[in-house]
């Protein structure tokens, strides 16, 4: 087996006495597209900054392409970072923003012009080369920032929440753009997101973080279908998670007996996995929201709140109405983790 392209070994990152990321271990191969997923404040940006060399680790090592770069300064690490705020240079034109790093490298002028134009062309901004960033739209600024990183041909491109500042339509466009650039160049990319759907859609592998620790690493398929912890399940859309013990499910409000056998641990259902209209359990509709194709119910049951979402074609229930529901075995996801 070849050695990994990026290797983080027992990486501990701290701000003064406050340890933000304790003993992180992670590796990935060349050309992989990795998503760093997790709630705000879990240490994603901190991890990125240390890979880029902007934050010195308290302990541990960072290897890139087989070399220990832990003590290599940021300006020599050949790593691109696209900041959440883009961090474009407001006093320079689009062209000069992209050419900035090439000029620092002191490449011959002809080569700078050629590479810069090619970079601008790749992101479809050649016609705006003379505009200042402030005269560009959010999406254009973002693509400019991408071009500025890409022309340097970095070993790794890090992207901090690359899509979070864009509106829904641009987000889809930019998502496609990132995928295309990654496919065309084969560059190793790590991007940060707190949006599970973004990670699932884009990444080859997802690293799910919680409080500075890695909760689970896996392909989108693995994370979506087989979350290994309550946190992972919750983060990936299993909104109904209950502790199970002796075939009794225990909720915040009470207990209900299970009509199938289960080991002790946790059971989780997505809202779409809850059946309503029939079943052995009773609940009252607390609220209902119409979402086009589907109707999203919040139910008040014996064990607590149940989230259910069903096709809008089915019979609808009003707030305050009683109904029967079921938590079917076929839709249940078992998590070994005890409380």
């Amino acid at each position: 087996m070849s050695s990994p392209y990026i290797l983080l070994k027992d990486l501990t990152l701290a701000y003064g006495d406050m340890v933000a990321v304790p003993k992180l271990n992670f590796s990935c191969d060349k050309g992989e597209l990795i998503a760093l997923l997790g709630p705000s404040g879990c240490g994603k940006t901190t991890t990125m900054r240390s890979i880029a060399g902007l934050l010195a680790p308290q302990s541990g090592q960072i290897y890139i392409d087989g070399k220990d770069v832990t003590n290599v300064p940021a300006n020599k690490r050949e790593i691109g970072l696209m900041f959440q705020s883009y961090a474009l240079f407001p006093h320079l034109s689009g062209f000069e923003n992209v050419a900035f790093g090439l000029r620092i490298k002191k490449l011959p002028e002809a080569e700078i012009v050629e590479k810069t134009n090619k970079g601008l062309d790749t992101v479809g901004l050649l016609h705006l080369a003379n505009r200042k960033p402030s005269e560009m739209s959010g999406g254009q600024q973002q693509r400019l920032a991408l071009a500025r990183s890409m022309v340097m041909e970095p070993k790794v491109l890090l992207l901090d929440e690359p899509l979070s500042n864009l509106d829904a339509r641009l987000r889809l466009e930019m998502r496609a753009e990132l995928q295309r650039v990654q496919r065309e160049t084969g560059i190793t990319m790590i991007f940060v997101t707190h949006d599970q759907s973004e990670a699932l859609a884009l990444a080859d592998r997802i690293v799910l973080m919680k409080d500075g620790l890695i909760e689970q690493i896996g392909t989108p398929d693995e994370l979506y279908n087989k979350p290994t912890s309550v946190f992972a399940a919750d983060f990936l859309g299993f909104e109904n998670i209950f502790e199970v013990s002796n075939n009794v499910i225990i909720g915040d409000a009470g207990k209900m007996s299970l009509d199938f056998k289960s080991e002790s641990g946790h059971l989780a259902w997505r809202p779409s996995g809850v059946k309503i209209g029939q079943g052995k359990y009773k609940a009252v509709v607390k609220s209902v929201a119409f979402a086009g194709e589907r109707r999203e119910y919040v139910l008040d049951a014996e064990i607590g709140v149940i989230m259910a979402d069903v096709s809008a074609q089915k019979k609808s229930y009003k707030i305050g109405e009683s109904l029967a529901f079921d938590l079917p075995k076929s839709e249940a996801h078992f998590i070994e983790q005890a409380s």
Partner: protein, 259 residues
């Protein structure tokens, strides 16, 4: 309706109060007579021309110019890095440092001048010219730190980090991406410092020696001996110079954004 007229009246009075003395000086300088008076005895340009023939004015003008230019440049050379550090790094007691840096604005100039004379010029034998440079630099420094600081507050640090990741050292990132973006603030600080230094009286009052006087002090001294309209003419010319500089600064830099 009456409210509108009241506010207009107040505005008018304020303008007269502010500009009135200026107009009186311009007109007094236009006098054809021999002594400073308002209204003047007849109208002529002779005092405005005479100003350029008075040798001591010429010398003190050059000294004041040199002090204003170099004193402000040195203050900026110290003040820009100081403002940068105060904004960028988590410096312990940053607020205290800011207060200390602003102290010369708060402490009356007379005290600063006396202190410099008593503790630097007299005991150490520092030359008056050098003491003036120190004094003017120290005087302008608070303005430099303040104005440059305010132009730096909106500058995000990730821009510099982006420059570093593109190959810059921290230092070259400062010159390549920070400085170009605070250039307006630095120029504004220079102009404010220049005008402050040039018009400075109380500190310079203590720091004058044989043949070494700043222009405002020289004008005071001249007036004590010769009470002719040339001082009014010179004052008017200097006021035009200041107004001209500030006008150009406002027009090209949007000066008022920074002060």
């Amino acid at each position: 309706m009456t409210e509108k007229w009241t506010s207009r009246l107040i505005l008018g009075l304020t303008l007269i109060f502010l500009i009135g003395p200026f107009l009186i000086i311009i007109i007094a300088g236009l006098s054809a007579g021999q002594s400073l008076a308002f209204p003047p005895d007849g109208i002529s340009l002779k005092w405005y021309l005479k100003v350029f023939e008075i040798e001591s004015f010429r010398d003190s003008f050059i000294l004041s110019m040199a002090l204003a230019i170099f004193g402000t440049l040195i203050a900026l050379a110290l003040g820009v890095p100081a403002a940068y550090a105060l904004n960028r790094y988590e410096i312990p007691y940053a607020e205290t440092i800011k207060t200390i840096v602003a102290a010369p604005i708060i402490v009356p100039g007379i005290i600063v001048g006396l202190a410099l004379l008593r503790y630097l010029v007299l005991p150490i034998g520092l030359t008056v010219t050098l003491a003036l440079f120190f004094a003017h630099t120290a005087l302008v420094l608070p303005y430099a730190v303040r104005v440059v600081s305010s132009s730096m507050t909106n500058l995000r640090s990730d821009m510099e980090e982006a420059a570093v990741l593109l190959g810059c050292t921290r230092l070259s990132a400062f010159f390549k991406v920070v400085l170009p973006n605070i250039k307006g603030g630095v120029l504004a600080a220079f102009i404010l410092g220049f005008v402050t230094s040039f018009n400075q009286v109380p500190v310079s009052l203590f720091l004058s020696g044989p043949g070494v006087r700043t222009l405002p002090i020289d004008m005071l001294a001249y007036m004590e001996i010769t009470y002719d309209p040339s001082v009014a003419a010179l004052s008017a010319l200097l006021a035009f110079l200041s107004v001209g500089i500030v006008f150009l600064a406002e027009k090209f830099l949007g000066f008022s954004r920074y002060v």
